[in-house]
Symmetry: C2
């Protein structure tokens, strides 16, 4: 027998999470998550899931019946959308203005689809004119895929306009709302979004590990018309829906992450109680406070004002400043986490998150003061 | 704007979980899970993950470097093993003696692999002679896949013998240990298992949602020699390992389910503190107690004594008894969950779990007394 490792209990400190996610989790969400585990087919749990579905529908502003939480993080939500809708050989216009647009490309290609890339510079929103040109040049494209809020750069794209373009050219839209959901305006039905996914650990301020997704009636129709099986058994929506929407006759697919779903239920309840429009407004106000303070420190934004995400502030690291040393000091001395740059912005930018429960005045004040002290 | 649903906080009762999983969760695990969320790249969290890896290695009795917890339930662990190792056109001998062997087949076929089925009757272990014949008849097979402990029937197969057969015929072994890990003897290195997956919610008594997996050096070699990309981006082990084993240079793949990993760390710590052999012995002893009591109630086992799983007791529903009514009374009046039959055993059997923290004397006593009262 190999011997047992001797390991102490893990007692993490209370960090203030102002990076790109996970964000500060509501205390009530942590409390909800630690309630007693019940069976995944327990009638009380099934009733909770029905409530959860209605809460996700509210957050997305949709009446889509195929609305669930995938039992895995946002990248599995992305994969859920692509593997269920796309068949080998089909063409997707993929907009890329940061890390996550490129991840979409990788998803498309691993399915055997054809990704036609529309590139915009990092830090800029997706360019609707370039998208129109690509749609025009590729009349056989079946999908338009883009990231609403690019977590790697802090740029917000015009989802409403892009989805209208998709419709105009007969394409289904696939939208990454991992960082946008709960932080900025997002209206799935009104904007005509066909497939959307998000993550629990950003503006919902839930624990990481779940991905709310929603499919429109047109997306469901495309799914039902598939000629090939969905390549993932775990993410096959037709099978998953037997569990999420069977009324009292739920069929077992996989064991749901029971306690994580308690947490998501509580975080979405908090969002519903606050009201979406209030939450959007709060993120905007906290962003303005942070922006005013950063300007006094001569710290500049990566993204132009018109496309700036309130919940993810990508800023250039001031000249001569040691990136890693500053982040380490903030973490060690202030228990404050801000995010490093990712991809093309690695070493050049910081990402300061104001997400969900993290978007409050005391966090802005701490961040500004701590940065001022460390950079002094 | 669609209006916000009015939803109350979810306050589940304290159930006693004696079904096929989720099992009773250790109180310490629920407490660990609700500790403050830290960033998934926080140095303290990275150190916790290193400990977690050593704890998973201990539970599996392996020194495999490629040992992690997949950020999703056991069925995603199954898919991780198949999508990473199998390439389109490759042949797998798949043993099927219950629901989960058939799920393996579906995984193989969705990858474009060829599944050669070796069927054994439900309730019986996999037949090594039939496996030998299939290996002999299919010299081009690359893998042997089987379920160690069939959750749908309660049958234990002889993993040691089956893995030796795989080696003899030059095949890699892929083993489902979802229900076996922590409940019965399992020795990955000694038995020469090449790829194995389990679940957090069975004999580890952790919350559902995570899947420990481990790949042998030979499996890693097969993975590295792939000619085609892994079809799942989310489950691509080569990418995931950049996060799980990068030393201090971890690269971001997806956001880890931070709090769920706290929970798994704590549950595996409890297993290490108890000692694997003690845990196996405890499951066996509780099974004997339950068996003695069930015999007094004239309730018979589905599986012959030699292949019975101590942690999952599949028993025939006595003649004339209303399956659903009994389970409902146990749940409503005793807060006790036992499992329904699955697949071929639906309506014919119950599945009584004695898993992890659930395998204790008070649970056995409650179950026997409650069954006696309800069946009276």
């Amino acid at each position: 027998m190999l011997s047992a490792p001797v390991v102490s209990a893990f007692n993490p400190p209370r960090r203030i999470l102002m990076g790109p996610g996970p964000s500060d989790v509501y205390p009530e969400v942590l409390a909800a998550q630690s309630r007693p585990t019940v069976g995944h087919l327990d009638p009380l749990f099934i009733a909770m899931m029905d409530e959860l579905k209605s809460l996700i529908q509210y957050a997305f502003q949709t009446e889509n019946q195929m609305t669930i939480a995938v039992s895995a993080p946002g990248s599995a939500g992305m994969e859920t959308c692509f593997v269920n809708l796309l068949e080998p050989g089909e063409k997707v216009i993929v907009c890329r203005n940061g890390v996550f647009g490129d991840r979409m490309r990788q998803n498309v290609e691993r399915i055997g689809g054809v990704a036609v890339m529309v590139d915009s510079p990092w830090g800029e929103p997706v360019d609707p004119d370039a998208v129109r040109a690509a749609l025009h040049a590729n009349p056989d494209a079946k999908f338009l895929a883009f990231v609403h809020a690019e977590t790697s750069t802090g740029a917000l794209s015009d989802a409403k306009t892009l989805c209208a373009l998709a419709k105009e050219y007969g394409c289904l839209s696939i939208v990454d709302a991992v960082t946008s959901l709960g932080g900025v305006e997002l209206k799935v039905d009104e904007w005509g979004i066909d497939a959307i996914y998000s993550g629990s650990q950003k503006c919902l301020s839930c624990v990481p590990g779940l991905s709310p997704v929603s499919f429109s009636a047109a997306a469901v129709e495309k799914l039902k018309a598939r000629k090939t099986p969905v390549q993932s058994w775990f993410l096959d929506q037709s099978l998953v829906m037997g569990y999420w929407s069977g009324g009292n006759k739920r069929s077992y697919h996989h064991t749901a992450p029971v306690n994580a779903l308690y947490a998501l239920h509580e975080s979405l309840r908090k969002l519903a109680n606050e009201g979406l429009e209030h939450a959007w407004q709060r993120h905007h106000e906290m962003h303005l406070l942070l922006k005013a303070g950063l300007e006094k420190l001569d710290i500049n934004f990566v993204v132009a004002e018109a496309s700036r995400l309130p919940q993810l502030n990508a800023v250039y690291i001031p000249a001569g400043v040691d990136d890693a040393a500053v982040r380490s000091q903030l973490l060690q001395n202030y228990n404050l986490e801000i995010g490093a740059g990712l991809g093309a912005l690695a070493g050049k930018a910081w990402r300061i998150g104001l997400m969900g429960y993290g978007a409050r005045r005391e966090n802005v004040a701490l961040c500004l003061r701590a940065l001022e002290e460390v950079l002094r």
